[in-house]
């Protein structure tokens, strides 16, 4: 499904969506019951006047068989991911705020072989992610373990704002210093040079991840993840010649923020890596292609308990308009033969 599938006007997303949600839900329910399909999709208003509205609503659908729904618990697992395309900053957090009181764990669930269901969900993205309420543009996604919705695009505008002021604000935001390269290179990782395990740089804008698909917990000392990317220039920050620095023996001519996170637990809370990756592309290359490429390698298990238990984690990467994932990383316990 693509943005707009709910056939709502932008204004309907605040208080006039229930009937449409029910109607569409009934249709989908028939499909689930008859064909066993599952649906996980997201819709959102295309544009929001931040002078008129105080929330950024998105509405999603989640339908499937009983087994599907039990495996993917929305309340605890769903993550809302929003990428600010102006600053290429990605936010991620649980879609549903945990209740501020002790709760009783849900009962053990057994799938009803002939059952199913689902429904809609709504998220105030501004509230959940603490988004700055300033003009901008976001790409928004909901992730639940290995499931990911379509990405919806929402523009935040301020209709009453003087264009000159808007231009000034945009100019000022553009001057904001980009965070320094992080993490800094180490031995042998983190590294931003091509490695033996690095995937090829995508031929089109995108991110490619190469992660260890299966690790034995007892033997896991490190989990080296490799990434390669090609992003449009606007997702990066190219550096003037005077700003260029040397790193790992090469000149850094651009920096690209990449948000990496791993989810997949019973509670979807992600482990997050905020990377600012250098690009060693020459200024000429960058100017000619309008794109920036680069690579990274880091130990995902360094100070992060990814291998704390038997689990399959799903890793995602977001940078501007491009994303990667889910890429599974399974951790299993070593089976020892009894003497």
């Amino acid at each position: 499904m693509e943005q707009g599938f709910l056939s709502l006007n932008d204004a309907d997303f605040w208080d006039n969506y229930t009937q449409r949600l029910n109607t569409l839900g009934d249709e989908i329910l028939d499909e689930v019951a008859n064909k066993g399909v599952s649906v996980f999709a997201l819709d959102a208003p295309k544009q929001i006047d931040i002078g008129q509205r105080q929330t950024l609503p998105v509405i999603g659908l989640r339908f499937g068989t009983s087994a599907y729904l039990i495996k993917h618990g929305y309340t605890r697992q769903a993550l809302i991911v929003a990428t600010d395309l102006v600053n290429n900053k990605t936010y991620v957090d649980l879609a549903v705020q945990p209740r501020n009181l002790p709760t009783r764990p849900g009962p053990n669930k057994t799938p009803d072989p002939s059952g199913g269901g689902g429904g809609g969900f709504t998220i105030d993205v501004r509230d959940r992610l603490g988004l700055p309420w300033v003009p901008g543009e976001y790409l928004i996604t909901v992730v639940m373990s290995e499931l990911v919705t379509n990405r919806v695009r929402v523009k935040l505008v301020e209709s009453k704002q003087d264009p000159a002021v808007a231009a000034f604000v945009a100019q000022e935001r553009a001057k904001l210093p980009l965070p320094a390269i992080q993490p800094l290179p180490g031995r042998p990782v983190p590294s931003y040079l091509q490695q033996k395990g690095s995937p090829d740089i995508p031929v089109k804008p995108g991110i490619a991840l190469a992660l260890p698909p299966l690790s034995v917990i007892e033997k896991t000392r490190e989990c080296i993840g490799y990434g390669s990317f090609r992003v449009p220039l606007k997702a990066a920050r190219s550096l003037k010649t005077s700003e260029s620095v040397q790193m790992e023996g090469k000149s850094v001519n651009a920096r690209v923020p990449i948000k990496l996170f791993a989810t997949g637990d019973f509670i979807g809370l992600p482990y997050v890596w905020d990377l600012v990756v250098p690009s060693f592309d020459s200024p000429q290359q960058i100017n000619m292609s309008g794109e920036v490429t680069g690579q990274f390698a880091l130990d995902l298990c360094h100070n992060v308990p990814l291998a704390s238990k038997e689990i399959t984690r799903y890793v995602y990467a977001f940078s501007g308009e491009v994303m990667a994932g889910p890429v599974p990383m399974a951790f299993v316990t070593e089976h020892r033969d009894q003497p």
Partner: protein, 827 residues
Amino acid sequence: MSDKNIYDDEKITVNARIDGDAVTVNKITQAKFIFTLIKGSAKEVLAPQMGTASGFPRTATCEFTPPKVDKTLDYYDVTYQVEVTPPGKPAVTLNGKDTIRVWPKTVKVRFTSDDVDDIKGVKFVVSSTGKVSRTEKKTATDAGEWEGTLPQAAWTLDVDPPWKKTDVTATGREREYKVTKKPFRAVFLSPDPDDKTKPIRQLINLAATTPWKKAEPSGHTLEFKVASDKDEAKAGDLVYIECQFGHESKRTTSKPVLLATGLDGAVTKSNSDKTCKGKIKLGADKTATFKVELGQAGGDTCTVKVGSTDACGDATLQFVNWRRVYYQLMAPDFMALEERDEAGAKVKDFPAGAIAKLKSLGDSIFTEFVFHKSHTFALAAAPAGTALPRGFIGRATGPANVYILSDHTFKNYPKAFSTGADSKSPREVRIKLCDANLFADAEPQQDVFTVVKTKQADLPTDAADGALWMPKCSLDGTDTITEIKWKATLDPNAHKHKPTFTLAAPVLTAGSKKADSRSIKIKELTQNKEVTVVFAKSGMLSDVSTDLSTSEKGKIDPFLNSLFNGPTLRRNGNKLQFQIEAETGNARRDLRKTNVESTLTARFNALAPEIPFHPALDDNGVARTGNLPLTAVNMGRSTQTLIAVDLPDTAATDPGKWVGDPTTAGKSEIRVSCKFKPHREGLGLAGRGAQKGEILVVFDKDHLEAMIEIVIHEVGHQMNMTVFSGAADSHAPGFTVSKHVDEDEANAAYKNNGDKGHVYRDHGHSGSHCAFGLSDANKLLAAYDDASANAKCIMFGSNDLANANRRSFCVQCQDYIKARDVSTIEL
């Protein structure tokens, strides 16, 4: 050991019997008596004293007058020997069998002082120990002397206040004591506890009362009233005060101190301010009042001493700071609480196990949790949707009904808590107990469906993200279920059938004898349609034919086709019933009827279509569907994870009539779906708005300690636990902000299972909590519920009634919560 005690003014008569033959002993007329005085280790043998011997048996007698006891001695002992010399024989010496202890008849005590006035009329107490134990009060003369007889025993002397013995300059029969005279003995008029030797539990968070109440010692600024013991003081005399503070807490505001107000001069502080000294003048009424700030930290101790000299040795009181938090309980009367008598009335309180846990947790933070009132109500008063069969929450035993509260019903209670003067606000917690607490989920309404072969449709709500349900929405009390639908699942094309063809008994008439033509009417009774076929003569003279002509046969097909209307057929049970109206009376007439019947039958068989036909299909051949009222939900079978629906079976079109195994003719499976507002289950809720100050708690008699942990977790938050701002903990002045889980813990006393701090936000919980007990590796986890088994502190962010690990305040939280001001509890 002496055998006899005498005063030194008494005489001793010693008789010695002289045995032997009468002739010899009668010649002995004298005996020599030798007395020895034993003074400590020294022995003094006195000059022999002669005694006269006479009579028979011969007895020698001597009367001994003991010398006075030396001034420096308390007593001396006397032993004796008798020596006789028989005629012509050597002297014989006999030892006396006993020892005599000689005590002074007159004892003299003299008091001296640097101030001659101090020795006038010194009151003192003489204590004798030994064979005779006695305490005697004495008074010296104006010259500071006393002379008299004391029991025959060792004795000690103590002066009564206001005198004070400073030095003993002599011992023995005549003693001299150096004394000073204090003006009076200071005493506390208030506080006046029954047992002054035990520390007083001072309830520092309660409002101070004047005068101080024994039953409820209250207030953190404590007023002391002092006077002299026996009205010996005069206005203007000074009472000296010394306060020793334990300073157990690091809290820096409202720090324990002797307040200067009313004192004579400044307060002097020493020992890092733990010691405060001052003095105060007695007023015209010979009393004085001063104040001590005990501070606002639970567990802080203080000792207050007063005296008429700066030694402050006259009276002492000790205090330990405690806080008291009251609770009111609200519960339905069918809940298994403990009933007891209180002030003649029946009240319901937590069971003993819960109260013991309350006490244990309270003791660790110097806080008493005290029952104030209970409020109960009958089942009939429970708001709609709150009292449900116990099976709804999976209970097989116990009271028949359980009480389920939600955000909505939490606000709409059949009874109100005591307020105003009848309450203990703002130092109380109001607790609403329930058997389960459900709250609305974040999502809009959800759908669940199931496919059934019986009239009982059980819809597991957990298919919708593990959700629960309850009849009334937790948000506004409206019905949670907004729609129940059913739909037959059969494929209409899999149930195609030709209509049933039947011929009713014909309607026959006699007919006319002569006719140019004969007609037969074909009627279809279910649709009330008919067609008439005519038999004509083939010639003027011929008979009317018995065969249908081609043209007449051609009428039958359109007639039949007009009957093959699917909806009409299904409405009529997919049946067609024909009836022939024809003439009879002869063979030809009967043959015509037979021919029509056979033609009709043949054409029907040739033309009749197969149409979808099944009880589960409606007139249009579409699988039946319908909505059900909420009364279709069977609450007797429903649970919080299951919506039980009974399908109706009254009318032929009701799904209950034909639901069944689809392999059985006329049966169909049915998909039942339901739209409902999903809920989750909580264990507690802290009230907001009108419910501020109230806590909703799930009562579980099988998990009392865990239940109390949840109550106190919430109360702990209200005591501002794990809530910090700025660089310092503003709620515990003087304390730095606790180290977070990603910081190194500097205080060795707070380290546990690693080197990291304990405060955390989020990690799957909402707000700020304590991770004490989790290892450093645990603290790297995204979701701390994965390590909840290691959590030891009650301020950990989640709990579970079935959790076997009991929690309490960790050592760090204890320190912080003891430092908090608990004068207001408003949840």
